[in-house]
Subunit: 308 residues, 2 copies
């Protein structure tokens, strides 16, 4: 069983969609990554920070999913990171209503001793200096480092982002971010340029249009499952990253052909995440459901053409 | 060898893209469908109308591709349908600069006697009354009728469109049109509603994001091939439809599993169409290139997951 080290926010979200709205509920990239990866047979740990206002039941939930939470610092008297957003009718765009960094503003990640030799490291979307700090603490070169990031860091911390990118194997970003980072409109050209910045594997997430995996001249595509209804897209990208890194950690296989399977699992798990508000669906998810949906992914994409 | 009857415009296009512009060149839905279907072993005919200004060399080109042009009426003293458009930098949106209907305004399609028993009928994007008129002339119920249409007819001729839809097996439309026609945002729900309007098979084209094939509860997805550069998207949707209907005509197999192959071939051929201006690439296309690209489609989508 491989060790999977996850760094990412553990937070409160308040979400409005055309289907309803929530009060402050459990959210954060680290949470979604951890819950998603917990579907696999891995020894995972989350490095994060929360305030004293963070409910013990949320920490218990993560532990029940066999996630080590020793690296989640609880700041006495501090308040937990809070994000609030409203999705538009098309569910593809959203307005941020509030971002309160709180304890995240001074987050200094500390990797637990037992995970400094983790084989797989999943750097969730955070300041690139925090991501670098986690890599600095590793006592052994990980087998695979996966980095997730977003346009905000390209705008505000590009040099630091470019630094940490040189140290990772896989980057996951969305299509618009890939275009911004590379200056290329064509995703094929964008991926080629991002390769030269460090990551040998580039995963471009296209939301409801699926995800592309590039490695040199090779490319693989995982569709998103066509759904009757997307209830709440929050955390779908993180759930995708958790499925990807969790599957790699379980199999211990970092070949391109195994990464194909990993992004299919990432898409599979993300298709559940959006079915309910926040982490609700991921908390209840059963292994049988994921395997049954895997069959749907096969029917959706696999074909047999006889060549003359 | 099955007969494939195609109705669609044969026209002049003038195109501007960020890569350059053309004078009046060969275009039209019927042209692109015919050229694409000619890749397969089929006996095809185009029903259309052109003016006296239409160059004989264009008609010769279609004949050289083994397309019967008996049904292309040449109107003495008439002028050929002309469309001109300018693509934006993202290649996904365009402005129409000119639409001159000319001889198309009074187009009365006449199906050649030898094709009134065609097994496969491909109704290209035209006024729904023209599409119905073609079906009225068939002396034998076709094995499969495929209809392509667009938002313009939903706005201006919805009752006539709904009438012809009741008589077809497959409809191909883009995602926005599927939403407009059904009033449903979710493409899964949109397809279910469109099923109730007649077509047992619904193909939703998403441009660079691929195409979905729906049949009752079954769904299949064909990606678009990620390309370094899209040079000119004109005719890509028609080329897709030509590949789809041409493959069905060649194989004579209208099962769902064979339709999967048909939309893979449609995507395959469309990926060539966009590589050069107008019909240029399709005119030169060799069988070996298409088969080699089929291998790329397999690498792009096929995966092997061992279940525990």
């Amino acid at each position: 069983m491989s060790k999977l080290l996850i760094v990412g926010t553990v937070a409160f979200d308040a979400i409005e969609t055309p289907f309803g709205k929530t009060d402050k509920i459990l959210g954060g990239a680290g949470t979604f990554i951890g819950l998603s990866a917990s579907f696999f047979n891995v020894d995972s740990a989350i490095v994060s920070v929360v305030g004293e206002d963070f409910p013990q039941e949320y920490l218990d939930l993560l532990q029940q999913k066999n996630i080590n939470i020793e690296g989640i610092e609880v700041v006495k008297g501090g308040k937990t990171f809070f994000w609030s957003g409203r999705y538009h009718n098309d569910m593809n765009s959203r307005d941020t209503l509030a971002t309160e960094l709180n304890v995240l503003a001074d987050f200094n990640p500390v990797v637990p001793q037992a995970y400094k030799d983790a084989e797989i490291v999943m750097l969730g979307n955070l300041h690139p200096l925090v991501q670098s700090s986690v890599l600095n603490q590793m006592t052994q070169k990980p087998k695979l480092v996966v980095l997730d990031t977003m346009n905000f860091w390209m705008d505000c911390a590009l040099p630091e982002l470019l630094d940490v990118m040189k140290r990772v194997d896989v980057i996951t970003i969305n299509d618009e971010e890939a275009r911004q980072l590379s200056g290329e409109y064509s995703l094929v050209k964008a991926a080629a340029k991002i390769h030269t910045m460090g990551p040998k594997y580039v995963v471009i997430k296209k939301g409801e249009h699926g995800a592309l995996l590039f490695h040199n001249k090779e490319v693989f595509f995982a569709p998103a499952l066509p759904l009757e209804e997307v209830f709440d897209p929050t955390g779908a990208g993180d759930t995708f990253a958790g499925g990807f890194s969790g599957y790699i950690a379980q199999t211990g296989d970092t070949s391109f052909s195994n990464m194909k399977n990993a992004i299919i699992y990432g898409s599979n798990l993300a298709s559940f995440c959006v079915e309910k508000f926040g982490t609700q669906r991921m908390e209840q998810l059963q292994k049988e459901e994921v395997l049954s949906r895997l069959q749907q992914f096969k029917s959706l994409t696999q074909f047999e053409i006889e060549l003359e």
